[in-house]
Symmetry: C2
DNA sequence: AGCGGCGTTCAAAGCGCTTTGAGCATATGG
DNA sequence: CCATATGCTCAAAGCGCTTTGAACGCCGCT
């Protein structure tokens, strides 16, 4: 059933039927009711391809997800972010176009989306400190929102977590517990969030008159295996850390494995603070928080990002939206006073 | 730049330019070369909205992802499955439309996709033993492929892992090690894969003249927290299991946490076999396989599923494709002979 | 009676492509 | 030299909507 047939069956013009369905005011209420009833009865749905061509709007938002590292893995936080954003998109009538590309192919993907008009805007995630995508999208004139930000966060819209202050707070928390040898297991430090976390960590250490020790700092794609390997190596050093500060729950699980394997007890022999994105399947709260953590829901961020982006699409030429979310530090069972000695 | 302008700039008709770009034979090679060069120079990309309307094809495949459980979580395996499928889609020129819906909203999402023609086919994941989506999509006439299958797997195309035999093998492996008290930490058993795994587990136990013990069997959404809680309860029973068979690496990590917390050592005091979907960020192989596991790459499945579905879309009226993948059992460090007594 | 304004409806143009059917050369065969 | 085939190109129709601009009937006003 298409609009023409529906209009004919009602003895109305396509114009009137279209207007009735789309809520335009120049249609008599009685007529609108008739149209709505007939549409309902016939299970009429306007063809989205035709509608998109006619309106010039794609009613679609693009997410380009780059595969990270040599092993091309998908950052698991994307799933929860998408869940949050997708919910808002659905409510607002937008589709979500997902493009998963190898590292380096992202630019081509954005250019294509802009050129062939398949999306009205795009979401950028996990930017590098000096991310080239921002200049590109500005050039392409495609509305976009960045989840995270770059070193120079001016001139575009973003939503970010206060990474630096979160890791400063977490480091201070460990320092206050008496820890002096604190390790940092970070994400890839070309990514802005990781660079800021490292800065917060270093700042706290410097502020106590100490210097960060490179032996106790590692950064890589945040897998369970990386956490395990990084912590293992540090725990085999002559001078081992007494505490770990970890960038995500996933590598934190690897750290825990390395700790336990050495017969050490988390929260007693070794302390661990992690950033917790509140991943749904990695709930840190079953039976009380296992890890002491700075937390900020990635899913909540996805929702808010979607709201902002849609607003940016609907009302162009508005000032840039920039939102910074503070994190809370939840004390769990993975931290305790530094062991004597 | 649109087709009309491009054609004018070349002094050719839109017809010829369109044909040249789309590789039709009735165009002189010299002309085609001219057109291609001009298109390249102008960075011309056909407007996808117009193309879709004209061809009647959406060049898009839909994935409807239901949020599971009361907490509405996203099954983390979806990310890796999407990565695999997305790669193939991109190569074949298809877009990926992602719809994330609350449980129970899935039917509406499929109906809408079918009615408004936004997709050419859909992928179904994690079917229930008697999944209603299959009848629905058949009724809607929308091509689809099921990753997994239902109790009655006839009359539609699917790709599945041999779940029953995998868990039979895994259980026998534990039985052969002398374990007699084997627990099953399963996914939600309304899902077909979980039901089959349970059947394989039970079959192996019955075949040794024993009976499965309900106290040692739990099933729920496969989170780390669920694994932890389920294993904790079992380890606090008067008669505790000596081995755990777990449906995914994620709850297996929770089981490990519960085991370690009780001062027990995995692979010595307690054995653990898990199914490993080879999630990229949960690599079970950093430093040798931590868990003994039946494994089958979810990402590989995504790739193959995408290939099959595209083929189904391109050539309708072909016989159903049904593919069953066997798993391999990799012995890691989480299993050992049953402790004496 | 004539006029403007309002509420309602319509025919037709347009979105930017693909595809059909026709047309015009040029080549081929009888 | 005509008839037919072949290679290449074109104008125009069509995909199913939205949106513009016009038209129609009716009302109240002067």
């Amino acid at each position: 059933m298409n609009l023409k047939q529906l209009a004919e069956s009602l003895n109305l013009s396509q114009t009137t039927v279209s207007r009735a369905l789309n809520g335009y005011p120049e249609v008599r209420e009685e007529t609108r009711a008739r149209v709505l009833a007939a549409a309902q009865a016939a299970n009429y749905q306007p063809n989205s391809r035709a509608r998109r061509l006619a309106t010039g709007r794609a009613m679609t938002i693009g997410h380009v997800i780059p595969l990270a590292g040599k092993t091309e893995m998908v950052n698991p936080i994307f799933a929860d972010f998408l869940a949050g954003a997708g919910e808002v998109y659905a409510n607002e009538g937008y589709d979500l176009l997902l493009s998963i590309v190898s590292d380096g192919e992202a630019e081509r993907a954005y250019r294509q989306m802009a050129a062939n008009g398949s999306v009205d805007g795009v979401m950028i995630q996990s930017p590098e400190t000096d991310d080239t995508r921002i200049a590109l999208l500005r050039e392409l004139g495609l509305p976009f929102l960045v989840h995270g930000r770059t070193q120079n966060p001016d001139g575009y819209s973003w939503l970010d977590v206060a990474n630096k202050s979160a890791f400063r707070k977490a480091t201070n928390f460990l320092l206050d517990l008496g820890h002096r040898r604190i390790a940092l297991i970070n994400g890839q430090e070309n990514l802005d969030f990781a660079a800021r976390r490292r800065a917060g960590y270093a700042e706290a250490i410097w502020s106590r008159g100490m210097a960060p020790n490179p032996d106790w700092m590692r950064a890589d794609v945040m897998t369970e295996g990386f956490g395990y390997v990084a912590a293992s190596k540090m725990l085999d050093l002559a001078e081992t850390p007494t505490a770990f500060l970890v960038s995500s729950v996933i590598p934190a699980i690897g750290v825990r494995r390395a700790v336990v394997e050495r017969g050490l007890v988390l929260g007693r022999d070794i302390s661990l603070v992690t950033h917790d994105d509140v991943l749904s399947y990695m709930n840190n709260d079953a039976d009380g928080p296992a890890f002491t953590a700075t937390r900020s829901s990635i899913r909540g961020a996805g929702q808010r990002c979607a709201e902002i982006l849609i607003d940016l699409i609907r009302k162009p030429n508005q000032p840039h939206v920039q939102e910074l979310w503070e994190t809370e530090l939840t004390v769990g069972r993975s931290t305790g006073p530094a062991p004597a000695g």
